[in-house]
Subunit: 159 residues, 2 copies
């Protein structure tokens, strides 16, 4: 899924109208790519203060069902939303100790996913794939020295 117009199509096939409010939410979501629900509420309302918080949440739910956004719960801070198109797809590897997040790509997994959904007669809309573990540093670090509320930082890595 790549273009805005395709999103519109996809929504239509699900009997969903792309109203002005929803289009605004979608536009701002695409501008961010990564965001929390409340960040998006704030951003959208700075542009059009008449848009209600509830509408943003309702739209996020719609977009998720349509496979346009994913919701990630990394357990540090509020859940994070991500737009699934407009960027090469990637998944996440996270250190449960320090909170480091690495984004990776593994095309062979993507291929296998298609095989799985085909097996069950599904039409794939989106997916999330998260690996949790200990990064090299945290494997050897004294756990008692580990930060309680790790700073979250993202490294863009294509493998």
């Amino acid at each position: 899924m790549k273009r805005f117009i395709e999103v519109e199509q996809l929504l239509k096939t699900q009997g969903i109208r792309l109203t002005a409010q929803r289009a605004l939410v979608l536009r701002r979501a695409v501008a961010y790519l990564h965001f929390t629900a409340e960040e998006l509420v704030k951003d959208v309302r700075e542009i059009d203060a008449s848009v209600a918080r509830g509408t943003v949440y309702r739209t996020l739910a719609l977009l998720h069902r349509a496979g346009v956004v994913e919701k990630h719960d990394f357990r540090y801070g509020p859940p994070n939303y991500e737009v699934t198109f407009a960027k090469a797809h990637h998944d996440h590897l996270m250190c449960v100790q320090c909170g480091e997040i690495i984004e990776f790509q593994e095309p062979r997994v993507e291929a296998l996913q298609q095989a799985v959904v085909k097996r069950f007669g599904y039409q794939l809309l989106s997916h999330t794939h998260k690996l949790y573990g200990l990064c090299r540093a945290c494997q050897h670090a004294d756990p008692r020295r580990a930060p309680k509320h790790p700073h979250l930082h993202v490294e863009e890595v294509v493998a």
Copy 2:
């Protein structure tokens, strides 16, 4: 990871004590395999009413960091926790329209995951892999007739 004693070991390497409360939470979690945080609170407190809600939540966070439990947000109802051992590992395929959930296994994906973490020097503790899409029925159903709050049911399928 397969045995209780290994969990204890794993926690120790992270400088975490397995107190009576934590052991109880873990025992009950294993008894359920699938549960929500509040279900577990209720269950644990029926056995020992002196255990505080906060302790259960704190323990769940610990167990998650240790890779013992996973947290799934299927967007229908509260987040669902799952014990990652004591059962053959499986991942999830969900219909975003009707809420059907299929559990599947794909060993080749598991193998690729190991390759990914190795590439980055990580030690893998756990993972989640969710595929979202439309089931066969919902692909052809009139979307306007789709239930707003689908009933969630799980099919155990090993592929």
